[in-house]
């Protein structure tokens, strides 16, 4: 009984860590750059498939984190600088920009997906790394999933400290709360928006690297994760990065519990929670 309970809780945390990571990236993009990035999942996919390719070249997936992260950061930064910045300048109001950027990211999703299909083909890929069993008080888990959790927590913590203590972190928080006034403090808002968008994409890519260690990957895997990320961001409270972190773990636990009773219904459960949330408490856990 206890073992089963631990089984579920730890599985939930493992899943939750991943969800927290992908949600934090999206939360950063939405909170600062005000882009609800539907193509967020595609950056996860790029991280995952690139890691698979690098693994075929005998490169350790953990090393891939250091490779994929910066590359996707630059990609995200440039995408914002060119596409989303243009939309920002031509949108008549903030609300119009949010819907325009959402549509644009939708198109971006198809472009990236199809490029990936051309590059990697439609087959489902996978590799084995650190697939050794680890015994945790009777419950058995795969080492790679524990490493994933470790990274998710480490990145989450590092990011939190970065936001709370550093000059740039504070500037990001200020820009999220009042971009115009942040500009009056000397913050280069154009640069800041692109930077945050890039950071968000990089976090997605890193999540993709970690996902590829534990699960099979393929060119169209992105959308499912993007939707989960959106649900977590709303669950945690739009604009709250700590909220996304907590929300990720909450959803992970829910997923683990539902999977125990009825595997395959996890996704349906997420959507049900989303609908419930919209009806009962739209501002989420940490939302104001």
């Amino acid at each position: 009984m206890i073992v089963t309970f631990l089984d579920i809780v730890i599985a939930g945390l493992l899943l939750g860590g991943l969800y927290a990571l992908i949600a934090m990236g999206l939360s950063l993009q939405y909170g600062v750059a005000r882009v609800l990035n539907i193509s967020h999942g595609e950056f996860i996919m790029l991280g995952a498939l690139t890691t698979w390719t690098l693994f075929q070249l005998h490169i350790n997936p953990l090393v891939s984190i250091a490779i994929c992260g910066p590359i996707i950061f630059v990609l995200g930064f440039l995408l914002h600088r060119t596409m989303f910045k243009r939309l920002l300048n031509t949108s008549e109001s903030a609300d119009i920009f949010v819907s325009n950027s959402m549509l644009a990211s939708f198109g971006l999703m198809f472009i990236i997906q199809n490029l990936a299909l051309m590059g990697w083909g439609p087959e489902i890929r996978g590799y084995t790394y650190l697939a050794v069993p680890v015994d945790l008080a009777g419950a058995v888990f795969s080492k790679n999933r524990l490493v994933t959790l470790g990274f998710a927590i480490a990145i989450g913590l590092a990011f939190y400290i970065f936001l709370a203590r550093t000059r740039l972190g504070k500037a990001i928080r200020a820009a999220a709360q009042d971009p115009s006034t942040a500009g009056l403090m000397g913050v280069n808002i154009n640069f800041m928006l692109a930077l945050c968008f890039g950071f968000g994409a990089a976090m997605a890519a890193i999540a993709g690297v970690l996902i590829s260690m534990c699960y099979p990957v393929h060119a169209v895997m992105g959308l499912e994760y993007a939707l989960i990320a959106i649900i977590v961001v709303v669950l945690g409270g739009l604009g709250s990065i700590p909220g996304s972190f907590i929300g990720g773990f909450v959803l992970g636990l829910v997923g683990s519990i539902v999977t125990y009773f009825e595997p395959g219904l996890a996704l349906a459960a997420y959507y049900a929670i989303f609908i419930l949330l919209m009806l009962v408490r739209p501002q989420g856990i940490m939302g104001r």
Binding site: R167, Q177, S180, T181, A182, L184, M185, G186, V187
Partner: protein, 234 residues
Amino acid sequence: MLEVSKINTFYGKAQALWDVSFKLKKKEIVAFVGANGAGKTTLINTISGILRPVSGSIKFLSKRIDGLAPHAIVEKGISHIPEGRRLFPEMSVRENLEMGAYLPRVWKQKEETLEHVYQLFPILKERGGQLARTLSGGEQQMLAIGRGLMSRPKLCIIDEPSNGLAPLLVREIFQITEGLRDRGIAILLIEQNVRQTLEIADRAYVLENGRVILAGEGKKLLKKELIKKAYLGL
């Protein structure tokens, strides 16, 4: 120090400022007064870079600044304390002040600057860890001014500091403004509160519908018939 020459600013197709010109020298308080919608905040936003003038020029310390982004203008030594304070609501008092010193050249000395600001507004030191949105109106205004001073500016633009404040606090704020001028900071003051503003302003301009209709020394303007009738209800 600041030379604004015939600027015209639009909101889309609607013109908000018509050939507005004025000068501001070191160690003086220049005030712009006028009714709601006269264009005062538009003028300020044009100077600090939030808006771009369609024609005309703005020179600060002999260099053109019109067309520069806000963060570049603040780098030159102009601090804009916005209307409505615009504090960062979810950041603490201390963090708001720190953000005022965001520029690399002042970030290094921020502890020292913070001490100066705390001397000016001791209540801010007391409330250091509180979230900005939990402060009272007067405290928020003090925080806004303190934050504006953190960048060690040469020119401070203060937009309607008396808004929503009790008369006693308004007097205190104006006293502090005079103190800043005496310390060598040029002040550009925007206000709807005409009488008290004209009493402390070295020079003042009256803005109506985007145009300068009167200019002169503060105390002299107070005596003008037009002012008395239109703005003081006499």
